[in-house]
């Protein structure tokens, strides 16, 4: 048996929110992927919009590189508002 291509499915649950990854499915093309995604992932009005992306097109960062990728942000506390000393009586800032 030959597998149909694998697709990743993303659902926007309501207007104003990001699409969120919900899982995957197999389909021959994008049209079938959307139709199947509707039946598999939105049977109870969980979404107002669907994205499908063929899984082979997704490039992911590697967990073994996570130190190089994310550690540099750890010591940059000056990127956060609480880093700056301001008097308590100051308002609306």
């Amino acid at each position: 048996m030959k597998n149909w291509p694998l697709w990743e499915v993303f659902v926007r649950s309501k207007q104003g929110l990001h699409h969120k990854h919900v899982g995957s499915l197999h389909a021959t093309d994008e049209k079938m992927a959307i139709e199947n995604a509707r039946d598999v992932y939105t049977r109870r009005s969980e979404g107002v919009s669907l994205w499908v992306v063929e899984s082979k097109h997704i490039h992911a960062s590697s967990p073994s590189e996570s130190a190089e990728l994310y550690d540099p942000a750890n010591d940059k506390i000056y990127r956060h508002p609480t880093f700056y000393d301001l008097p308590d009586e100051l308002e609306h800032i």
Binding site: M1, K2, N3, W4, L6, V22, G23, S24, L25, H26, T28, D29, M32, D39, V40, R43, R44, A60, S62, P63, S64
Partner: protein, 318 residues
């Protein structure tokens, strides 16, 4: 190779800290294998589980019952698909999973090897079989493997409707004629013990339990879940006015739980080994569906490939 041990220790400390393991993270080979076995077995159970209930869709007594049952069976297909999807993140292909089911190499829950001989069975399945499954699945919402836990959260949200539609079927029968009440009691008599067996072997014989608990794939033992299920079923049976077919069922003041009779483990292992009332029929139905659908899948793929080729040729010309 020397650092396999340190990788394993690091892995365990991540699990112990209640951080989820995600697909690309390092994991012990045995953890991956255990998950593939468990998740695929779970997926197959959802798929095969459609068969006993599908048997009654076009004989449902009212339209209300029919739409309810149809939606439930469709959900079970969905559950199978969420789980296959979770399983594939571990590096196994869908067709391989199907092959394992069709060849008999992979197991599915033995409960689906029992026949549905009356309409009351549909109610009993919703109440007891889905009820027992929920007990297990609620625990699995906190399993250590991220994709499996997320699939379980989705599934649990849908399951409560399954159990309620089943219970309502039984409740209606319980208020019906004498024949209907007898039908209800008969269904409960046949489904009670197999439902208790769904939790799997008892402590001593449960081979995978200890390691699975350590890896936090499982959070409770088979026996703990089974006891929990027995305890909550008593009151639900009372409201239906049915007796559970176990003369040893009795509240134990000391433990605060209900004691229950010895499970017929010989029957359990016999059905697991393929000798239940419907094992052959269930598997044959899956194999037939797969074989007879092959040309459709091939045709759909060929069509999509042709369309894609045309599209790319057209864009070259333009």
């Amino acid at each position: 190779m020397a650092d396999i041990k340190s990788l394993e220790e690091k892995f365990q400390s991540i699990v112990d800290a209640e951080t989820k393991i995600e697909p690309k993270d390092w994991m012990p080979e045995a953890y991956r294998k255990t998950l593939i076995r468990q998740i695929s077995q779970h997926a197959h159970s959802e798929i095969v589980g459609m068969l006993p209930e599908g048997n009654w869709i076009n004989r449902a007594p009212t339209l209300r019952r029919k739409v309810g049952l149809l939606a439930k069976v469709q959900d079970e297909a969905g559950h199978g698909l969420y789980l296959y999807s979770a399983c594939e993140t571990l590096g196994i292909e869908r067709d391989e999973l199907f092959d394992q089911l069709h060849s008999g190499k992979a197991k599915y829950s033995s409960i689906f090897n029992y026949p549905t001989t009356s309409w009351a069975d549909i109610g009993a399945i919703g109440w007891l079989v889905d009820g027992a499954a929920i007990m297990n699945q609620v625990m699995l919402c906190r399993t250590s493997y991220g994709p499996y836990a997320r699939a379980m959260v989705r599934i649990c949200k849908e399951e409560s409707f399954h159990q309620r539609q089943g219970y309502e079927i039984l409740l209606t029968l319980s208020k019906g004629s004498e024949e209907q009440r007898a039908m209800l009691q008969d269904a409960v008599n046949r489904w009670w013990w197999p439902s208790l067996m769904m939790f799997g072997p008892t402590g001593k014989e449960s081979t995978h339990s200890a390691q699975s608990m350590k890896w936090k794939i499982k959070r409770k033992t088979n026996d703990e879940l089974r006891q929990q299920f027995v305890d909550i079923s008593i009151g639900q049976a009372e409201i239906l006015g049915v007796t559970l077919p176990d003369p040893d069922l009795k509240y134990n003041e000391e433990t605060g739980h209900y004691d229950f009779g010895e499970i017929d483990w010989e029957e359990f292992w016999n059905v697991v080994k393929g000798n239940g009332p419907c094992n052959k029929e269930r598997l044959a139905a899956r194999v037939k569906a797969s074989e007879e659908g092959q040309w459709v899948r091939d045709a759909a793929m060929a069509y999509a490939e042709k369309q894609a080729k045309r599209k790319s040729e057209a864009s070259k010309v333009a």
